[in-house]
């Protein structure tokens, strides 16, 4: 029960920080994707369901706060959470570089999905330009802050990152 409340609070706090305070560490207009880090963290630690619900809540919050059509971030987060959870079953190491790589890949997929959805809705946007100038830098920035965020998440949720039972 305590873990579930902490989980919900962490998601809302991450979404709030993402939409308010995170602009403080903006670099060339790029900020890390904090909710996505939570999605990947819970995907690695708790499996697909927790990752998808994390993505759902964080996505709804960002859709509403960002004044985008409801479902935009939700779809991206949920898909990325599911994929990250599926892939993390195959990972055999706890090395930070592997987790950073996973986050980078997840952020890339997330950004491309987001751009794809945006492109479907507004074909006149420069999708390639957006991927090169926004998605890739944001993915890199998110990957860079991964060790720090994962460390604090591990502290908050009381256990170190570990593979779920049954992972090889």
């Amino acid at each position: 029960m305590y873990r579930a409340i902490a989980w919900a609070l962490a998601i809302i706090a991450a979404a709030l920080v993402q939409t308010t305070w995170l602009s403080v560490i903006k670099v060339e207009g790029v900020i890390p994707n904090l909710p996505l880090l939570l999605v990947v963290y819970f995907a690695v630690n708790d499996g697909e369901e927790r990752a998808m619900f994390t993505g759902l809540i964080a996505g709804v919050f960002r859709d509403v706060a960002g004044d985008t059509t409801l479902g935009h971030y939700v779809l991206c987060n949920v898909l990325v959470g599911y994929l990250a959870a599926r892939i993390s079953h195959r990972l055999v190491t706890d090395h930070p570089a592997v987790k950073t790589g996973l986050v980078f890949s997840a952020a890339l997929v997330h950004g491309m999905l987001y751009t794809l959805l945006l492109y479907v809705q507004k074909p006149d946007i420069g999708a390639i330009h957006m991927i090169l100038n926004v998605v890739v830098p944001e993915s890199l920035y998110t990957a860079i802050v991964t060790p720090v965020v994962f460390f604090f998440l591990a502290l908050c949720f009381g256990r170190r990152l570990s593979h779920p039972a049954g992972a090889t």
């Binding site: 305070w21 998808m52 709804v60 919050f61 706060a65 059509t69």
Partner: protein
């Protein structure tokens, strides 16, 4: 395998499918202002508000701290510059007020001069004060400009005095404070004649109206103006009577009484005045000057009485 068991087995996939389907439906509809969206937006805005306020406060505090540390010298310099600008502006404001005052004064002089063009009023500027010269004003016109001894000096407020000394470029005007300044005057109300004489003291502006018939009605507050017998244009204000000496309770053998007159024009407050170039204007000119008051027609003034009538006991 039963359907519920199959669902439990593939629960993550089922959840994924449901969420993806709902998201796609929402994206396909594209609506942002439905009830759910508005409710969520309200909730998010309420939750976000403290964070935004805190962020704003932190941002202001950071800007203040950074500005205090990094831009202190610049701020001090800017403050000094602003102070200098403020001092300059204050000076300009004072100058402007002075200019406005001067403008109003000159307008008044101009309005005074226009109707009296036939008198050839010469505007002059006072270059020497009255106080230090005990009632004498130095003006910036002299014989070179056509000024002559005996010319009258006046302002829109009233008579100032007479030109008593003329140099090439500067002349002296004896004001009503000088004892040797005498002007033939009358009381506007009943045209009783007299001679206004300066007090001779720079400490008091009060002058005296002498040679008033003991029988004449003279009251405090009566306005004293120049008489037609004077070199001044008739009817111009000299001052007001503030006290009367001699009368019913005085010596019965006295034939004359006097009155104290407070001059209308204070020479200590003047910057400019007019000198009347042509002296006493002709009767025709006086009749044509609308500003100059004359006695009402059909009413005999005291100046029409014979000497015997005026001074008989």
């Amino acid at each position: 395998m039963s359907i519920p068991r199959r669902i439990r087995e593939y629960r993550p996939v089922v959840i994924l499918c449901i969420i993806v389907a709902l998201s796609l439906a929402s994206l396909a509809s594209g609506t942002r202002s439905n009830i759910i969206s508005r409710g969520l937006k309200t909730s998010v805005s309420v939750i976000s508000y403290p964070f935004l306020k805190a962020m704003s406060a932190v941002s202001h505090a950071k800007d203040y701290a950074v500005g205090f540390v990094l831009y202190y010298d610049d701020t001090v310099q800017e403050n000094g510059e602003l102070r200098r600008q403020q001092a300059d502006l204050l000076t300009q404001t004072k100058d402007r007020k002075e200019i406005l005052t001067e403008n109003a004064r000159l307008r008044k002089l101009l309005e005074f001069e226009r109707p009296l063009a036939s008198l050839a009023l010469e505007p002059v500027e006072i270059v020497g004060g009255a106080f230090e010269l005990e009632g004498t004003l130095l003006v910036d016109r002299g014989s070179w400009h056509g000024i002559k001894v005996g010319m009258c000096a006046m302002t829109p407020d009233g008579v100032v005095g007479r030109v008593t000394d003329v140099g090439p470029f500067i002349s002296s005007v004896s004001t009503l404070q000088k004892a040797d300044c005498r002007i033939s005057a009358m009381i506007r109300r009943n045209r009783v004649r007299g001679i206004v004489r300066g007090s001779g003291s720079s400490l008091t502006p009060i002058c005296t109206l002498d040679y008033i018939d003991i029988k004449e009605d003279v009251k405090v507050g009566d306005e004293v103006v120049t008489s037609p017998e004077s070199q001044f244009p008739a009817g111009y204000p000299i001052g007001k009577i503030v006290a009367v000496h001699g009368g019913e309770d005085s010596d019965e053998r006295a034939l004359l009484k006097s009155a104290e007159v407070k001059p209308a024009a204070n020479p200590y407050h003047l910057d400019e005045l007019f000198v009347v170039r042509r002296g006493t204007p002709s009767h025709e000119e006086l009749a044509g000057a609308a500003q100059i008051e004359v006695a009402p027609a059909g009413k005999a003034g005291p100046d029409s009485k014979t000497m015997q009538e005026r001074y008989a006991p």
